[in-house]
């Protein structure tokens, strides 16, 4: 884990409220799994006070560059979206444990199930899987057509199913709906998106292998403050826990309680 001022190489809107930012520095060298995240200070001021956790979308060790995709919504992400090429940004990373693909076999079919701003880390994961020659199917859900992004990039990974809540692009409905309707089968399922989506996937595919990536409000981002804990499934005492920032954000299916 490094704290550094990363240089901004580009920072452009790619969909409604969605920005893609390319950053350069020493952190890319340290990234060891897709699904790890950065903790970003949005200004040099004491407001916004807290860092913002943003997943690494893709990483290029050789160039020392990485890409993040983020939604500009609240105060902090708005500050990030106003940064210009050549500016620097104070970044802590890489943080957390990402997607472990060591147990994915070369002959497996992997489904990447992404919802909204949960889609970006799946792209980096897909790149790694493809590098290993693994068959990748992406099922990507968005609220509406104007919120979608990275069509070409996901197309390069393999087959892609889109769905939107309002039906303006792809199937109308949720990621789970599409997977059921299209009878999409898989050996391993990797997912990132809002909790209701994850929950519905877990309920629908109770035996799925693979992993999911969780979000939780964070303080430190490094495991010290206990802001980001979640419960564990099958824990009669109710006292067991995982920290999303340092044990996760990626967990095997059915390890943590989704609520």
């Amino acid at each position: 884990m490094i704290k550094e001022e990363m240089r901004i190489r580009s920072n452009l809107p790619i969909a409604q409220h969605i920005f893609e930012m390319k950053l350069e520095g020493n952190i890319p060298e340290e990234v060891n799994q897709p699904g790890q995240f950065l903790h970003m200070k949005t200004t040099n001021q004491v407001t916004p006070l807290l860092r913002r956790p943003i997943s690494i979308c893709s990483n290029d060790k050789d160039k020392g560059q990485l890409t993040v995709i983020y939604r500009s919504g609240g105060q902090g992400t708005k500050c990030i979206s106003e940064k210009k090429i050549g500016d620097t940004i104070d970044v802590l990373g890489p943080l957390g444990n990402g997607f472990n693909i060591e147990n994915v076999n070369r002959t497996d079919t992997v489904v990447l199930a992404g919802g909204g701003i949960g889609v970006p880390p799946l792209y980096g994961l897909g790149l790694e899987l493809k590098k290993k020659g693994i068959h990748v199917v992406s099922v990507l859900g968005f609220s509406t057509a104007s919120a979608t992004f990275y069509h070409d990039k996901f197309a390069e990974l393999g087959e892609v199913f889109y769905c939107t809540m309002d039906g303006t692009e792809g199937h109308k409905g949720t990621v789970t709906d599409v997977m059921r309707r299209e009878n999409i089968s898989f050996d391993q399922l990797f997912a990132c998106g809002p909790v209701p989506m994850l929950k519905s996937l877990e309920d629908t595919f109770p035996d799925a292998k693979g992993a999911l990536s969780l979000e939780e409000r964070m303080g430190c981002g490094i495991g010290a403050c206990f802001a980001c804990v979640c419960h564990v499934q099958d824990d009669p005492t109710g006292k067991d826990y995982r920290k999303v920032c340092s044990n996760g954000p990626v967990f095997p299916w059915r390890e943590v309680a989704l609520r």
């Binding site: 884990m1 704290k3 004491v46 807290l50 403050c225 006292k239």
Partner: protein, 304 residues
């Protein structure tokens, strides 16, 4: 140029320590820098039994501050001693063990075990955590209860006892004087200010616990005022905290009357803040030609 700070039970190299609850038991930060640089470490609150704490969301961001309602999650005093303190021993940093509980007996038991472990330099009684339902707060707002708790813990503890005061009171001076009389060896101030944020999309409190404790730069003027007030009335050592983010902030606390300071929330913004401030303070003292950092604390404050 001297930064050395000798407080009861805490022979500190410098007046800087991370604040309780913002540094865990140091394990995460030990990966980032050498903990032996720190003046002291205020440990995360220990309770008699393990606690899960509150549901999430446990933190919210506010203007120049944050709310937290962790709810004293910790593995219980036994595990803390066996796993955390024995590990921390290698850094040779005097430790300030924060103790919380819901009954006086809880506090006594936990404090005694910590004192008897021989692994900590002093106890910090957390009588002011706004984030747990079962007592704790009353001890922090009623001078008589605070005094009784202090003297009971003093009796069972072989090491110095600091009392961490709550800012959520009409007169923090009354609390300070009550615990001083009851035998407290020092004061920590301030704990967080009780606050709330409402999610304007749902109309409901954002934190699962509804209320939380406000910390960060936003509360600094409150902390400074309270330390200044208390310093007029007592010579007890004061560990000052509340919103420290820079060397200037540390100096402001020393001028207000603190003998040492703790840095909490700023560890989240910058995990290297403690060593950076220690270095910066050394630099500052050099530039200002301050021979002993404690000349700053005492000289200016005594006269009202």
């Amino acid at each position: 140029m001297i930064l050395e700070t000798k407080l009861p039970g805490l022979p500190m190299k410098n007046p800087i320590m991370p604040a309780s609850g913002c540094f865990g038991f140091g394990e995460e930060f030990a990966k980032l820098y050498d903990l032996s640089q720190l003046g002291s470490i205020a440990l995360k609150a220990a309770t008699a039994e393990p606690r899960y704490g509150n549901e999430t969301p446990r933190v919210a961001e506010t203007p120049a501050g944050m709310l937290n309602a962790i709810g004293l999650q910790n593995p219980g005093v036994k595990d803390i001693i066996e796993k955390k303190l024995t590990w921390l021993e290698q850094y040779q940093v005097p430790l300030l063990a924060n103790v919380a509980g819901s009954t006086m007996e809880d506090y006594e038991n936990t404090a005694k075990q910590l004192a008897d472990s021989g692994l900590v330099g002093a106890i910090e009684l957390n009588i002011s955590c706004p984030n747990v339902k079962e007592g704790g707060i009353a001890f922090g707002t009623d001078p008589d209860l605070a005094a009784e708790l202090t003297s009971r813990v003093k009796k069972v503890s072989s090491i110095p006892v600091y009392v961490k005061l709550s800012p959520n009171v009409t007169s923090i001076v009354d609390l300070a004087l009550a615990v001083e009389k009851a035998g407290a060896d020092g004061l920590s101030m301030i704990n967080t200010v009780t606050g709330m944020q409402i999610n304007v999309n749902t109309g409901k409190p954002l934190l699962a616990n509804k209320v939380g404790g406000l910390s960060g730069p936003a509360v600094k003027p409150i902390a400074i005022r309270m330390i200044y007030e208390v310093r007029q009335q007592t010579d007890l050592p004061i560990i000052g905290m509340g919103g420290i983010h820079s060397v200037e902030d540390v100096v402001e606390f020393l001028y207000a009357g603190a003998n040492a300071v703790a840095i909490g929330t700023a560890n989240f913004t910058n995990p290297f803040i403690c060593p950076e401030i220690i270095q910066g303070l050394e630099q500052w003292a050099k530039e200002k030609k301050v021979a002993n950092i404690h000349d700053v604390t005492r000289s200016e404050v005594v006269e009202q």
